[in-house]
């Protein structure tokens, strides 16, 4: 046997758990920025938020003169300008799903978990990195959509400004909302592991369930609908109180709970399953 010229596990000082986490955040950042689809998806998020928001704002203004006084009173220019986020959430949600499922699809997950067997650290690092990227993109999307909307409302002498009470919270809330949906996407992705299934499940949660509850008797509908992830989360856009929705903070907390539960279940499965 030759003299050992290579270090063994005992020869080096083990890094701290915190250092392992930090290293994984860097690794996830490298992963995110080294595939083109990330950039495209983030651009799509901003584009959808602005374009779809502008479309809805313009159509509302064209019918403004025919609206009744009570409807005009309920008009919330802030919340309305953020309508595009309802579509933009799909891009962010799918990006969240892909953070996990693309690794399973390509087999790369085995490289990831082989490099870091502390699997919960891997998931936490993915969620952290993703939160940073989506929060930043969400702020761009939300503020752009807000200003675009206000420019359109100005044609009727309407509109909100960031200085008005609750408006800044609502616009920041747009970015928080997208982040919450994205984290739910990661959670669903890590539970289901397959892109198609996870995207379908996410679309069902965000878009189909609200339609299904629409068929329920109205008393049920009112109590249940506001607790669905998208409906609850979007309460954070409201500046003029909406009687059918939860209060802004509570609504966003419900969305975060969906995200946290899905991540917790996913984390448990990730730690237990064979890769």
């Amino acid at each position: 046997m030759t003299t050992a010229t290579v270090p063994t596990t005992t020869a080096r000082q083990a890094p701290t758990a915190r250092r392992v986490f930090g290293a994984n955040v860097r690794a996830e950042w490298t992963k995110l920025r080294s595939v083109r689809s990330t950039v495209w998806t983030l651009l799509a998020t901003v584009g959808l938020a602005i374009a779809f928001g502008a479309l809805i704002a313009a159509s509302q203004m064209s019918s403004w003169d025919s609206l009744e006084a009570s409807e005009r009173l309920r008009f919330d220019p802030t919340s309305f300008s953020l309508s595009g986020l309802f579509l933009a959430q799909l891009a962010v949600g799918v990006l969240g799903v892909l953070v996990i499922t693309s690794e399973y699809a390509t087999g790369q997950i085995r490289a990831t978990l082989g490099a870091t067997p502390q699997r919960l650290t891997v998931l936490a690092a993915k969620a952290t990195t993703f939160t940073g990227v989506v929060l930043g993109t969400g702020l761009v999307a939300s503020f752009s959509a807000f200003w675009t909307g206000q420019a359109i409302f100005a044609s009727k002498g309407l509109g909100a400004s960031l200085g008005d009470p609750g408006v800044l919270r609502a616009v920041f809330g747009g970015a928080l909302y997208l982040t919450g949906v994205g984290l739910l996407g990661i959670g669903v992705g890590v539970i289901l592991r397959r892109t198609a299934g996870a995207v379908a499940a996410l679309v069902a949660l965000l878009f189909i369930l609200p339609i299904v509850t629409g068929f329920l008797p109205s008393s049920f509908q009112e109590t249940i609908a506001k607790f669905l992830p998208a409906q609850a989360g979007m309460a954070i856009f409201n500046v003029v109180p909406d009687p059918r929705a939860l209060p802004p903070g509570a609504g966003f907390a419900v969305l975060l709970t969906y995200g946290a539960v899905s991540l917790a279940v996913g984390g448990l499965l990730l730690a237990r399953r064979d890769a």
Partner: protein, 305 residues
Amino acid sequence: MIELTDVTKRYGTTVAVDHLSFDVRPGEVTGFLGPNGAGKSTTMRMVVGLDAPTSGQVTIDGHPYRDLRFPLRYVGALLEAKAIHPGRSARDHLRWLADSNGIGPRRVDEVLERVGLADVARRRSGGFSLGMGQRLGIAAALLGDPATLLLDEPVNGLDPEGIQWIRQLLRSLAAEGRSVLVSSHLMSEMALTADRLIVVGRGRLIAEGTVEDVVARSSTGHVRVDSADPDRLRHLLQDRRVDVSAQPDGALVVTGMAARDVGIVAGTAGITLYELSPHSASLEEAFMELTRNAAEYTATRGAAA
């Protein structure tokens, strides 16, 4: 140093690995041989913590893999080629791996150079050939300069030049004092590169030892002896508890005794020999016989249950 102690892995009712124990020692290339479905890849996945054993223990230098922080610095593994996002370049793939284990970017360029991928490092890995994917997998395994290496079928998809390269790489890694476990279904390849062999069939350990040991353990090696008095010679040999069978042409086939010793027995008894020829089994023959026995054993056991 990899140690497996009484490791079993079940998937539902299927037993992929069955009470397997062996060591992979520093400074040696340990060949891991077995037919398809013998449990080689499952075993390797358990070593690097991807699959958890149903029972038993797998350790790296005494630690379970899942307890290691920055494990790439201790263990490098090539488990399947192209476990890589096709849209990412070779360099970016190695970069995130390096990041995750606190390894500097300079090391990425070093390993790319060592496996001969420096020129294509910035190209999307989706366009790589199987051989290039294999080289990238080896680069990933070498990234943390680990003392222990596991390579599952590393010569797959490589051209003769690549095979030659792998052979030299494995030898030099072992010479540097590393523990190297390499699986292959190519027995001839193992005969050239491995110092020790671990032969498995249906998840069980069939043979372990040097290449010579494993060949000797199989009963395929024999001596053919044609003589003036086969009947007497046969009795003399059988007295020495050696397995002898008569051939239709009157010659004898002797198993379990060297040709030289057969000659001495005949000479002492004054029997004239016409032919005395040793037939040593190749590793390939030894392997076929060893694994065939394992298959039969499992089949009979299954029928009895």
